[in-house]
């Protein structure tokens, strides 16, 4: 398979680009909700529109009412979300939770997927427990209790946790904190008793929670996949999420770069356009090279994942690390080359810097994934 979009994918990219630029742009969404201090951090009307576009259920199997598309397609939407800094539940709901639910019972699918596909429901993912992503260690416990489980522990960096209709929670049902086995994934409904959210606004204006489970009673049918066998589902969900986050990161990197290159062609100092200065030209050209490479490794990872290749795991970490470095470079160069105006809230380039920071941290930063590349390679 060639490493570029086929005709259908190119058409989807055109559609997604136009739609996100029109409806998901910074003024209409990010600034709009931020300036109103919206507790959700995103607009439900846009989520509904995304459903009408067919985006919300793209990864859901056709048998379950979705479009049965792959991660290349989801990545196309995510890149445009990244480019426009569009706040939306797409990554957590339509990529992460949807991937987990593929492993769920028909009952679970029937309960949650129609709402997702219709753009009525929003899902969150609760994996991290400390300030850094470390899914190998899960201390939140779900003890057997009658026919179900009692969930105790706490999670952090739960994006849109307070707005979510359901949380996918990774908990330990047996073994020690660092064991590979003994993990179970649960679909925890919004109104579960003894669950509390401490909702916080993050640097990029997104909303995340520290969520406490203080003996939350769960039915046995809240289990996604097998009891004690959740590691595999968790890994599948994380891999999809990381490749998705990388695709969004390419959009952030590309958006910031385009803005910066445009600025170099407009801003005059010393009687000439600053884009005429070789010092800036070389940095812009270096940035262009890195963004091209980041885009290439992301589509490679998407294709490997869609093909079910074993190497998708390694390439997902390569992609996440490469994009984190690249988008980081893009926003830093962006603010610097914009000069003073880049420090103002009025100008959008700073918003890219803030979004990139949050996205880099989500599901593991460049250090986490470079280390994982080394481990998977055997050194």
């Amino acid at each position: 398979m060639p490493l570029y979009h086929d005709e259908d994918q190119a058409m989807l990219a055109d559609t997604a680009r136009g739609f996100m630029a029109d409806e998901g742009n910074i003024a209409k969404q990010l600034r709009h909700w931020r300036d109103r201090d919206c507790p959700d951090g995103f607009g439900h009307a846009l989520w509904k529109q995304m459903a009408e576009m067919g985006f919300t259920g793209m990864l859901v199997d056709e048998d379950d009412g979705g479009l049965g598309m792959g991660h290349v397609e989801a990545g196309i939407v995510l890149e445009e979300i990244g480019r426009n800094l569009t706040p939306s539940p797409f990554l957590t709901s339509s990529v992460l939770a949807a991937t987990a639910l593929k492993h769920g019972s028909n009952d679970l699918k029937g309960r949650y997927l129609p709402g997702l596909i219709a753009g009525d429901s929003v899902f969150a993912v609760a994996v991290d427990e400390t300030a850094k992503h470390r899914p190998s260690r899960i201390t939140t416990r779900a003890e057997k209790s009658g026919n179900g489980f009692k969930l105790t522990g706490s999670k952090s960096f739960v994006i849109q946790g307070a707005s979510a209709d359901m949380l996918v929670v990774a908990a330990r049902t047996s073994g020690a904190d660092d064991d590979d086995d003994g993990i179970t994934l649960f679909a925890v409904p919004k109104n579960a008793a003894n669950m509390s959210h401490d909702a916080l606004r993050l640097v990029d204006s997104s909303m995340a929670t520290h969520t406490k489970f203080d003996g939350v009673d769960l039915d046995g049918d809240a289990v996604i996949g097998e009891v004690d066998g959740g590691r595999e589902v968790l890994n599948a969900m994380l891999m999809a999420g990381r490749i998705g986050a990388a695709a969004e990161g390419v959009g952030v990197a590309g958006g910031a770069m385009d803005m910066t290159v445009d600025y170099l062609k407009q801003r005059k100092q010393f009687g000439q356009l600053i884009g005429e200065f070789q010092a800036l030209q070389h940095r812009a050209s270096h940035l262009y090279s890195e963004v091209e490479i980041a885009r290439a490794v992301v589509i490679k990872a998407q294709q490997l994942l869609d093909a079910g290749a074993e190497s998708a795991e390694l390439m997902s970490s390569v992609a996440k690390a490469k994009v984190a470095k690249t988008a980081g470079l893009s926003v830093k160069e962006g603010v610097q080359m914009h000069g003073g105006i880049g420090m103002t809230d009025e100008y959008d380039i700073g918003l890219y810097m803030k979004r990139d920071r949050a996205l880099q941290e989500f599901l593991g930063d460049a250090y986490f994934h470079a280390n994982r590349v080394a481990e998977l390679s055997g050194y």
């Binding site: 070389h282 050209s285 055997g378």
Partner: protein, 397 residues
């Protein structure tokens, strides 16, 4: 079975039957490479046998037309042959600047007579060519070159000096940029072809920091270059005064070729091999060095994907025409970084200059050699200039 699969099976059996075991060993030094030419000697019988059987089948230049000494393979067939050769580690039967550079220029700009003569000579390894581009005062600013050919009717008299002429001391003929009009910078250069043994040409090897001398200074004192070598066989490529077009085409071709080496050494991850190497010498990777190796591997593996994407896009005509400049820039910078890390992992052993253990100072000489990667064929800075101008369309560059 598709035709291509049939071709793959045939190729596999042919290689099995014809490629000697010695020719499937990795290349260790320059002796292992057969360059052809009037004075060529073979290192051993296997090298000779492998070259001759490939020459007779047109496999020294598989994608060139049969009439010019090739095998007339289609692009997909040529790719299959490359894959099958690489599968068994077969060495190239013949290496030369004729194959890599002059050939493509003649296929694009040459007359039928030139193709018949020169391409066949190249394919059969009879003539070894070198390239005369750079001059002491004209490196990155190549078009400022001064070597001058005075028009004498049926020939030119050429005077001047070239530098960085690879293996000029071992070459038979030279393809050479010569100014034929001093008043016209871009349209006053002619791409000439001439015999180095014809009188007036002297070469002097340049000792490099690696201790090797693959490059020469080449001096021309009243060298006679005929305007014609016979019917339909001019002594220059393209038109008189339009040699810059040919040179630009070749530079682009060279960058594309470098960019296409996606699966090769240039882009591979090294961390795993470095850990093994370090264990062998009884050492351990410092955590900070391991971290640098991991970051390098991220970049190298990502670039592997880029090389694959680049090739896919070139084949379908989707890529930006200036994209090879980006590939050259990133690929060569990455290779320099790779050798820096290899030196660090190797420690004091990698400093040895001519010990047997290091194969005559391979690590250090190889490391120093890579420093030329981002200078030759267009410096990294020139590549960045081209990206600025042609891709980002920044002003005034």
């Amino acid at each position: 079975m598709s035709e291509l699969e049939t071709f793959r099976n045939e190729t596999r059996s042919w290689l099995e039957a014809n490629c000697p075991a010695e020719m499937r060993e990795p290349i260790r030094d320059d002796d292992d490479v057969f360059w052809g030419g009037r004075n060529a000697t073979f290192k051993n019988d296997a090298q000779k046998a492998w070259f001759e059987v490939c020459r007779d089948k047109g496999y020294t230049v598989p994608a060139w037309p049969k009439a010019y000494g090739g095998a007339g393979l289609t692009a997909p067939e040529a790719k299959v042959l490359r894959q099958e050769m690489s599968r068994i580690g077969a060495r190239p039967p013949l290496s030369s600047f004729g194959i890599w550079m002059l050939g493509p220029a003649l296929l694009q700009f040459g007359t039928e007579g030139q193709k018949q003569r020169f391409l066949n000579e190249i394919a059969r390894g009879e003539i070894r060519w070198c390239q005369g581009y750079s001059e002491p005062g004209s490196g990155s600013d190549l078009v400022s070159m001064q070597t001058f050919g005075e028009d004498k009717g049926d020939h030119w008299t050429v005077n001047g000096q070239k530098i960085w002429t690879s293996y000029a001391d071992e070459a038979d003929w030279i393809f050479c940029l010569v100014r034929t009009d001093k008043d016209n910078k871009y349209k006053g250069i002619t791409f000439m072809l001439f015999d180095m043994a014809g009188g007036g040409v002297t070469t002097k090897p340049i000792l490099l920091i690696s201790g090797n001398s693959p490059f020469c200074e080449t001096f021309f004192d009243d060298v006679t270059v005929p305007k014609s070598y016979g019917e339909d066989c001019p002594g220059f490529v393209g038109e008189i005064g339009r040699g810059w077009d040919v040179a630009k085409y070749l530079l682009g071709h060279e960058r594309e070729m470098i960019s296409g080496m996606g699966g090769g050494e240039r882009t591979a991850a090294i961390g795993t091999a470095m850990k093994r190497h370090s264990a062998k010498t009884g050492d351990e990777l410092d955590p900070a060095l391991r971290a640098d190796l991991a970051m390098f591997d991220v970049d190298a593996l990502a670039f592997t994907a880029m090389a694959e994407k680049f090739m896919d896009e070139m084949k379908s005509g989707k890529g930006h025409p200036a994209q090879p400049n980006m590939m050259k820039y990133v690929g060569t910078e990455l290779n320099k970084r790779r050798h820096e890390l290899m030196m660090s992992v190797g420690g004091s052993r990698s400093l040895e200059w001519d010990s047997e253990e290091t194969g005559g100072g391979k690590p250090s000489r190889g490391w120093l050699r890579t420093k030329a990667n981002s200078i030759e064929g267009g410096t990294s800075e020139v590549m960045l200039n081209v990206i600025s101008k042609r891709i980002l369309e920044l002003p005034g560059s």
